[in-house]
């Protein structure tokens, strides 16, 4: 059994009287592609935000490599090796694609706080790293364009490259296919697979498209109305009677 990388123990989050996430536990092993799935309003993104430090959970614990990070500030979690993307790409719209990645690479190289410019050798190293990241998501040709001018799909790829720029161990992707056309969905699916196959990263992603989840993930947690409905491998989930009846509907499964 592989090493446990990220673990949530009975994580709960409520907003006023509304319980958005109710005692959800997951265990993500190093090297897996883990999906959290559920219909709109199931608490997927809330759970995700509690894991990534967007806000603190009201109950439960989050562990990273066994270390309790439940109340750790988000920027420190990134330094530990957890990076994330957002449903609406979170980027620097007026900066070019290159500059967007530069901020992340500066952070990874621990030079973001410096007042002097990087040396020529360091600049070369930074540029090479940015080219490598852009090559991975195939955005090299858009390097000098302001990100605001890019298509939604390209913005998302840029954001994924940014989340890679900090050299993470695990990447958390919040609904990476949201609002994308079919062809772009394929692009992102390939990138997620590459994160795992080519970069040896662990991936956790939130998604409501069952086809995507079954094609990519090796472990799945199904959420419904804030609670865990089922947990298991893709075949276990697609064969689960509870999931079929309560959430998916026979028709969806047939299509898959």
């Amino acid at each position: 059994m592989a090493e446990v990388l990220l673990e949530a123990k009975n994580v709960s989050k409520h907003f006023g009287g509304v319980v958005a996430v109710n005692s959800v536990s997951i265990t993500i092993e190093q090297g897996s592609i883990y999906a959290v799935i559920g219909p709109n309003g199931a608490g997927k993104t809330t759970f995700f935000n509690a894991l990534s430090g967007f806000y603190m959970p009201d109950g439960g614990q989050v562990l990273y490599k066994g270390q309790d990070i439940t109340t750790m500030p988000n920027w420190q979690r990134v330094q530990l090796g957890m990076s994330r993307t957002f449903q609406t790409p979170s980027i620097f719209p007026e900066l070019t694609v290159y500059e967007n990645l530069l901020i992340g690479v500066q952070s990874q190289q621990k030079i973001a706080f410096r007042l002097r410019l990087p040396s020529v050798a360091r600049k070369k190293e930074i540029d090479a790293r940015i080219d490598e990241l852009l090559g991975f998501v195939n955005l090299v040709h858009l390097k000098d364009r302001p990100v605001a001018e890019l298509s939604h799909g390209s913005q998302r790829l840029c954001e994924i490259a940014m989340s890679l720029s900090v050299d993470p161990t695990i990447v958390l992707l919040d609904e990476p296919m949201a609002g994308l056309a079919e062809a772009e969905t394929e692009r992102i699916m390939r990138v997620i697979r590459d994160l795992h196959d080519r970069l040896d990263l662990t991936v956790l992603f939130v998604e409501h498209n069952m086809r995507v989840v079954l094609a990519l993930a090796d472990h799945i947690t199904v959420l419904d109305r804030g609670a865990m409905l089922a947990q298991g491998t893709p075949s276990e989930i697609s064969n689960s009677q509870i999931v079929r009846e309560a959430y998916l509907g026979q028709e969806v499964l047939n299509r898959v």
Binding site: Q76, V78, L102, Q106, S107, A112
Partner: protein, 356 residues
């Protein structure tokens, strides 16, 4: 070095040379005297430009609206004035102490300001600014209260050498200080630190999710801004040999914001252009009419409506647009580029689709 940068250097050097030449007399007249302007108005213009640059670092670069930078400006003036009045400090010591007092002010309020963003940040800067205003206003015995305090302008110099600064030599000293601040500002905004500030302005959340403690960056930006405004205030106090509570007031802060917006926020030269228009415009218009504020206000409204990027910002943008030409379309790159990028995985996805 690209063309754009080269043009920038040439424009910067030309501007400083022009500023240096303005007061020079040919015969019995100079350009300045022909315009019925006093050389001290140019000193004021440069100092207000530095103060507006300090606001620009926060709003134009970091995205934080400060309505309290006059507090640091006034602290600088009082720091210089009080140290000269009570401790017989010389010119350089007075300027340094003024700057340090403003920096201390920033150190005290900074941790509170860091807790809020947006409109609440702006309101906090306003509130803290007024706190300093009322302290200066109330501490009658020490600061002269509402009437302010006059103090002499000490000799300028070092141990072993000193000189008396008249308005002309004062101006050239200010030009030197201004040039140093300008170069320093330019180095800061293009450094990794400065780029991170600009990223914070656009999306602070993303900066944090790139593993950076944005508060640390904002705090340092606040301190740099306070020190810049403090230096400008200390030198302004030494220029007019006076410090008064109104220099700390929110109206003064508003003037700095206005100067910055007139010229263009987020550009290095914007506040300088804004200060030129504001200070010289005020001087000329106020000799013609007592209601000069109306005209400056109208100019401000016109600028905001017609040139939202500021006068200089709008000008530079139109030049940049002409340089760049037609944008490259994303579609010009064939889809093939993507396919070859990830051959192994695309085959895998295709295989999966076949299976289902």
């Amino acid at each position: 070095m690209n063309n754009r940068q080269k043009q920038g250097y040439i424009a910067a050097i030309a501007a400083v040379v022009l500023l240096a030449v303005l007061p020079l007399k040919i015969g019995s007249h100079s350009v300045l005297s022909l315009m019925h302007l006093d050389v001290s108005i140019l000193s004021e213009m440069l100092l207000f430009a530095i103060a507006a640059m300090s606001v620009n670092l926060l709003l134009g670069y970091t995205g934080l609206m400060s309505f309290g930078n006059a507090a640091y400006f006034g602290l600088g003036a009082y720091g210089a004035g009080l140290s000269i009045h009570y401790l017989n400090m010389n010119f350089i010591e007075g300027a340094i102490i003024g700057t340090i007092v403003a920096l201390l002010g920033g150190l005290i309020v900074g941790p509170f300001l860091l807790r809020r963003r947006g409109i609440y940040f702006a309101l906090l800067t306003l509130a803290f600014g007024q706190v300093f205003y009322f302290i200066a206003y109330r501490a009658n015995e020490f600061t002269g209260g509402e009437d302010g305090m006059s103090f002499p302008r000490p000799y300028f110099g070092f141990p072993g050498w000193h000189t008396d600064l008249h308005e002309g030599s004062f101006y050239y000293l200010m030009l030197l200080v201004f040039a140093v601040v300008l170069v320093g500002f330019w180095l800061i905004v293009r450094s990794p630190f400065g780029r991170t500030l600009q990223a914070i302005r656009q999306n602070e959340l993303r900066v944090r999710y790139l593993g950076l403690d944005s508060n640390k960056f904002i705090f340092v930006a606040l301190l740099v801004s306070a020190a810049m405004a403090g230096l400008a205030g200390a030198l302004y106090g030494l220029l007019i040999m006076f410090a008064a509570p109104l220099m700390l007031d929110w109206q003064q802060s508003g003037d700095f914001v206005m100067i910055m917006i007139l010229g263009g926020a987020g550009s290095i030269w914007g506040p300088v252009v804004g200060s030129l228009i504001y200070v010289i415009g005020k001087d000329i218009i106020s000799t013609l009419t007592q209601t000069w504020q109306i005209y400056i206000g109208a100019l401000f409204v016109i600028c905001v409506l017609a040139f939202p990027g500021g006068l200089l910002g709008t000008l530079l943008n139109s030049i940049a647009r002409r340089d760049v030409g037609a944008p490259i379309s994303e579609e010009t790159v064939p889809h093939k580029a993507w396919e070859s990028g990830a051959p192994a995985s695309s085959a895998a996805v295709a295989a999966e689709q076949k299976e289902s």
